[in-house]
Amino acid sequence: MANHNVFREEHIRSPLAHSWFLYQQNTIGMVALWALIFVLILTVIGPWIAPYPMDHKDVSALLKAPSWVEHGEVHFFLGTDDLGRDLLSQIIYGAQLTFGGAFLTVALSLLLGSAIGIIGGMSSGMQASILHHFLDTLLSIPSLLLAIIIISVLGPGYFNTLLAVFLALLPLFTRAVYRAVHDELNKEYIIALRLDGATPLRILRYGILPNIVETFVSQTTRALTSAILDITALGFLGLGAQRPLPEWGTMLSDTMELVFLAPWTVTLPGMAILVTILIINIVGEGLRQAILKGMD
């Protein structure tokens, strides 16, 4: 397209806006983003749109196959389990427990972890060094193992799971943000800022934060997927949410008994987990690449 404007400056977008522009070119990324937004909406308004209440059991419709299979019925779109619970409704309610829970946990640990990371990163000396080494070692223990250890102290349960996952994610953010801030601090433009007499807060706001967005995005993606995987794994092991809560992992461990009778009760909740993590990964990776390109 020809450009008739003389003042080129107007067309220079901020790096972030440019990244967003780049992201929009990514078709798969956009599809995944819309899917993610859909899941988010589902999580929020799920209870109002689910066809049946959470604890609804239809005794006359046990182990109904999904509607597209023979013997399936449309009003149990994804079929039912051995207690006559509508699988679609269960999965919708489960979105709140699994995805919603993971989302909240990640948001909270993002806030707290970044705060600690930024403070640690901006400081130096002994304090920072201890934090650094401690986090290094703590991080070499995988989050699920940390969560299991925490659960073994707190005892099984949904709330304890969230708490455990929150605590297990904390070092991830702290360490990543700490690293990023620390690395940025040593760069020349920051030194220039400092020589200009900028206060630490100002350095943080205008110097560092815009440049570590990529870290935030990639870490949030990682944290979100690992939070979902951890919550569902704990649910599956029977250490997390307990029935009747339709947490996806819990649903799977529950339907383990139905492998022979109702394979769809095994495949469908698992699909929900897989798809959710897949779209988070696609969106996260797309955003990260767009940001990296946008920065250049």
Binding site: T137, I141, P142, L145, I148, L239, V259, V266, L274, I282
Partner: protein, 321 residues
């Protein structure tokens, strides 16, 4: 080098110390028959001395010392993890090379899509699907355990593949093959994570190396692609792979714990979960310390290995990067 090792050891000891404090507080809290003198420091001292001498307490469920229980079952988990790493190298390197060579092409796209699926799939669900299809539907693989129970193989190393070959039974090869069959599906599930890691690494470094001038020189010399990769590409792409696999050990071990529960693999996973159910606190804290210490040790060993095989990293160490 020595200073580096000492520093690593230092961190290792500090972390274990913190973990042991947590474990100690847990024990103090819940075990009523724990001799409690009221002085928390002298209690801790006694506790840590017992721990250091290998006394993790007695499991309530089995009545055996916790450490001997762990040592009896841990080889099963380790065998699975080792197999997973072997498979991840065998599958990951060729896939990584192909993807790296055709960067942006169809092969690359296909391999990366599969890789993305691999990191996104929950291990326990993948295990269930494999079991449903390969074992129950096709009947190719057994659904559980380490070996057909009719094979009575005495435990020597705890690794079934080795024990079967060492045994003097007439059916030892049959038993070896049977334990391979039992390993197949759990290994496949467990190998997913390290394989994706290997593919990513190899792909990145291959596609980076292939653009370099010495490769072009080699091409000019008339070497074919296969030889180039074999002589030059891999030689530079591989060294970072091993250490990065080592760092995956913790994740693989945790995933093994989940995989084991699906395949009834008699390893540390079902044992730990069961201990939590039964509130068997000596077992929980013993298992927790053992696994954590093992993961930390593995990471440390990886670091040192990396140091030995990768000269660049050594430079980094001396501040000569």
């Amino acid at each position: 080098m020595l200073i580096y090792i000492l520093r690593r050891l230092n961190v290792f000891v500090i972390t274990l110390f913190l973990l042991s404090v947590v474990a100690f507080l847990l024990q103090r809290q819940v075990i009523t028959d724990f001799v409690n003198t009221g002085n928390i420091f002298s209690d801790y001292q006694r506790y840590i001395l017992a721990m250091l001498s290998g006394n993790f307490g007695t499991s309530l469920a089995s009545g055996n010392p916790v450490l001997s229980d762990i040592l009896a079952i841990f080889p099963a988990t380790l065998e699975l993890c080792v197999m997973a790493f072997i498979v991840s190298i065998l599958v990951g390197i060729p896939c990584g090379v192909f993807a790296g060579l055709s960067r942006g092409g169809t092969v690359d796209y296909g391999i990366m899509t599969v890789t993305l699926m691999g990191v996104s799939v929950p291990a326990f669900w993948f295990a269930m699907l494999l079991m449903m299809f390969f074992s129950l539907h096709l009947g190719w693989f057994p659904v559980s355990g380490r070996i057909g129970l009719l094979y009575d193989i005495p435990v020597i190393t705890g690794f079934n593949l080795i024990d079967t070959l060492l045994s003097t039974k007439p059916y030892k090869y049959e038993a070896f093959f049977d334990s391979l069959l039992h390993l197949a599906l759990p290994t496949l599930v467990l190998a997913t994570i390290p394989t994706t890691e290997v593919i990513r690494q190899v792909r990145a470094s291959i596609s980076e190396e292939m653009d370099k001038n010495y490769i072009k020189a080699a091409q000019a010399k008339g070497l074919n692609t296969f030889q180039i990769i074999k002589r030059h590409g891999l030689r530079n792409a591989l060294p970072p792979v091993i250490p990065s696999l080592g760092l995956q050990f913790g994740r693989v071990l945790t995933t093994a714990m989940i995989t084991e529960t699906v395949f009834s693999w008699p390893g540390i996973g079902p044992w730990m979960v069961n201990s939590i159910y039964l509130e068997d606190h000596s077992a929980i804290q013993g298992g927790m310390l053992f696994i954590a210490a093992f993961v930390l040790l593995a990471n440390m060993a990886t670091d040192l290995l990396h140091l030995m095989i990768d000269p660049l990293k050594r430079n980094e160490l001396y501040g000569k990067s």
